[in-house]
């Protein structure tokens, strides 16, 4: 887009090479941070309204028009809250943990292709980078659980460690099955391939299975119900972030919703053709790509919310049995099936 070139040239004219690129990257980082902090807030509001409609309620409708400023008010409240903490807590790790989680969440956003030009960081190992980042997030949760010196938090953290490690597997494998068709990990390449038919259509049956496995594993990845063992209200109270308050708690809370956004946008990029409109109807208008990307992502986010407000919680051993005995074998069979299909060229191209 022209704007990025204009800023790019303006910066390079002002400063020497290296500082200009650093300033440009800092600028992009600040813009992304602002956009996704606000997007996180409105995701929280969306979750509360959708939960209310499922539950015969109305949801927040007092603050601002129809409750639009509700999460803004929550954020202000959290900022002004006192940062309490336990004395025996391991001070340094206790303070480090929230930044781990929020930074990993925000780093993962940078590589999503919202439109053709509007992509901050198009690296050629796109999906691999995404999976690596999402596994670092769990270290933050483990740190939080361990360092707040609270037995419930420790149990919550151990559960999250076990859960994320085992569900990394099926996230990675289901994405891998789709990479078989595209042949490259770079996100813009993947979207290129999807110009003639979304991957879910190209890979028809195995792609559908991979999508279902991905959605299950993705919900588990973000510690959301029915896998919310990490902060199981009725068992552990608030799980790993029991001892956090104020802005630190806000980081965890925001990170959880941004993770949900990330899992949904990975799915749209891989399975549903990021900014490509269905059957190429609105290719002409460049800016509409962002609308399509967000529309698809919001549909998937609604699906994840639907899971949360319907299903009870799994027990920790059933969670692992589901992964190792059901999702993993299915994934491997699906991988072989997709490989055969790509070999024999049975994929549907438009």
């Amino acid at each position: 887009m022209k704007i990025t070139e204009i800023i790019h040239d303006w910066l390079f004219s002002l400063m020497p090479e290296t500082t200009a690129s650093i300033v440009e990257m800092a600028l992009i980082a600040v813009i992304y941070l602002a956009i996704f902090a606000v997007a996180g807030l409105y995701l929280v509001l969306l979750e509360r309204r959708v939960a209310a409609w499922f539950q015969l309620r109305l949801g927040p409708n007092r603050v601002g028009y129809q409750g639009l400023l509700q999460t803004m008010a929550d954020a202000l409240k959290l900022v002004s809250k006192e940062l309490t903490g336990t004395i025996k807590a391991d001070k340094f790790l206790y303070n480090l943990a929230p930044y781990f989680v929020i930074v990993c969440a925000l780093m993962a956003i940078s590589i999503f292709p919202f439109t053709q030009e509007f992509q901050a960081f198009d690296i050629n190992i796109g999906i691999f980078f995404l999976i690596a980042i999402s596994s670092i997030g769990v270290i933050g949760i483990l740190l939080a659980g361990w360092s707040s010196n609270n037995k419930f938090a420790l149990i919550g953290a151990m559960r999250s460690g076990v859960q994320t490690i085992s569900y990394e597997l099926s996230v990675g494998l289901s994405l891998l099955t789709m990479v078989l068709i595209t042949g490259s990990l770079q996100l813009s390449e993947i979207v290129e391939v999807q110009k003639h038919g979304w991957l879910i259509v190209q890979g028809h049956i195995p792609a559908m299975i991979a999508f279902c496995i991905y959605m299950i594993a993705g919900t588990a990845e973000t510690n959301r119900a029915p896998f919310d063992l990490v902060e199981a209200e009725s068992e552990l109270g608030a799980g790993f972030h029991t001892e956090y308050s104020g802005m630190k708690f806000a980081y965890f809370f925001l990170a959880e919703f941004i993770n949900m956004f990330i899992i949904a946008s990975i799915a749209t990029t891989i399975f549903f053709g990021a900014y490509l409109s269905p059957f190429g109807i609105t290719e002409s208008i460049p800016l509409l790509g962002v609308f399509w990307f967000l529309a698809k992502t919001l549909v998937l986010i609604f699906l994840m919310m639907w899971f949360r407000w319907t299903f009870p919680r799994l027990r920790i051993d059933q969670l692992l049995v589901l992964e190792w005995k059901y999702l993993l074998p299915l994934n491997l069979m699906n991988l072989i099936l997709m490989a055969l299909m790509v070999l024999l060229g049975l994929t549907i191209q438009f």
Binding site: Q55, R57, P226, A232, G237, W309, T310, F311, R313, R315
Partner: protein
């Protein structure tokens, strides 16, 4: 295993954790001292008394009408049935002849209280196991019953509508209409409970095969109500010692034999259908007649011991009065169902995980003021 032994033989990972007295799964102020090894529970030791008001000591200085109002605060989810228990004991002691109309109205209100208590239990059960929406569906149905109570008795939860000798005032003109509306509404909503939670595979995996209670242990622990009936032990007081109009109604006692958490869940769901059919049989033929048998204002029970038992939503509530002929009882003892149901928690929860303990406790349906009295 207190902390000193843990320190010197450090290799054992067992540690003690406090579940309560302020904890979402304990539904009230019950503190469980859990000895756990990682996730496996080694020992559950309940610590009671946080809401102990010594109702039995208060009864020794109150008149019989005032005792009835105290029992509202014991098991607040079946307060009407508690009131009826004390009234029955006093009426049988005085050999009072209760008009037919009172008996039928009392039975209808009993069954409405049981459904209200079971819908609340179902909502909170879902929440404990993680499905948060069941709470609102359960409370929507419970609200209709609360409106019926509020219109007839004036209060939603602690009714105090029963007094020794009958009812405080007659039922409200549109009581019958509202109850029929409720029955029609609830008949469409109860199957939804099964669709949403009972059939769910995650729910069944969380509930089946944990917290198993055999029939002999159920009898020996004195488990009553749905907890006992889920282990095949037929302990329905409405069948064995019928009171009010229960002998004129035909309903079958729900019995399961597996005795695990899922069986207790199913017993309560099927019991709601039974209660609905009881109300349907009675709602149309409430006999005419006055609602109050004449008693003098200061009630003095003849000397002797009296024991009466009723089936509350949680189990068998027994009222044991020792009277020496004065206007307040010499000694009054309430045999509370929750107390015996809690005593078997350690027996069935050991070996399970924390998630199982929470699910098992949810199906025991404990109400802590009923335990602490």
């Amino acid at each position: 295993m207190d902390t000193t032994t843990i320190k010197n033989n450090f290799k054992s990972e067992e540690y003690q954790i406090n579940m309560g007295p302020q904890h979402p799964a304990t539904h009230g102020v019950l503190r469980l001292l859990l000895t756990i090894d990682g996730e496996i529970i080694k020992r559950v030791e309940p610590d009671l008394g946080y809401i102990h008001r010594s109702i039995e000591k208060m009864c020794e200085r109150d008149s019989y009408q005032q005792i009835v109002h105290l029992t509202d605060r014991m098991d607040y989810l079946s307060s009407h049935i508690n009131n009826e228990a004390v009234c029955l004991t006093v009426e049988n002691a005085l050999q009072l002849e209760i008009p037919e109309r009172v008996k039928v109205i009392r039975t209808i209100l009993d069954e409405l209280t049981r459904i209200a208590s079971h819908t609340l239990w179902w909502g909170v059960m879902g929440m404990d196991v993680g499905a948060l929406t069941t709470y609102f569906y359960g409370f929507r149905d419970r609200e209709l019953i609360n409106d019926i109570f509020e219109e007839t008795c004036g209060a939603r939860l602690t009714m105090n509508y029963n007094i020794p000798g009958g009812l405080m005032f007659d039922i409200h003109p549109n009581f019958v209409k509202r109850t029929k509306e409720f029955i029609a509404h609830f008949k469409t909503k109860l199957p939804e409970y099964d669709l949403l939670l009972t059939g769910n595979v995650i729910f069944q995996k969380r509930m089946k095969g944990i917290g198993i209670l055999s029939k002999e242990d159920a009898i020996s622990f004195g488990a009553s109500g749905p907890v006992g009936r889920a282990s095949g032990y037929s302990c329905d007081v409405r069948k064995h010692h019928p009171y009010s109009a229960f002998d004129k109604v035909n309903f079958n006692e729900v019995l399961k034999t597996e005795g695990d958490t899922f069986a207790r869940y199913q017993v309560r769901i099927l019991e709601m259908w039974e209660s609905l059919s009881i109300i349907e049989q009675l709602i149309d033929n409430i006999p005419e007649g006055d609602f109050f048998a004449k008693t003098n204002t200061v009630i003095k029970l003849p000397e002797g011991e009296y024991y009466e038992r009723v089936e509350t939503a949680r189990g068998e509530l027994g009222v044991y009065i020792i009277s020496t002929g004065t206007k307040n009882p010499y000694r009054m003892k309430f045999r509370s169902p929750g107390f015996s149901n809690l005593s078997l928690l350690n027996h069935i929860a050991v070996g399970g995980k924390i998630g199982d303990l929470v699910a098992t406790m949810a199906t025991l349906d404990l109400v802590i003021p009923d335990i602490d009295r």
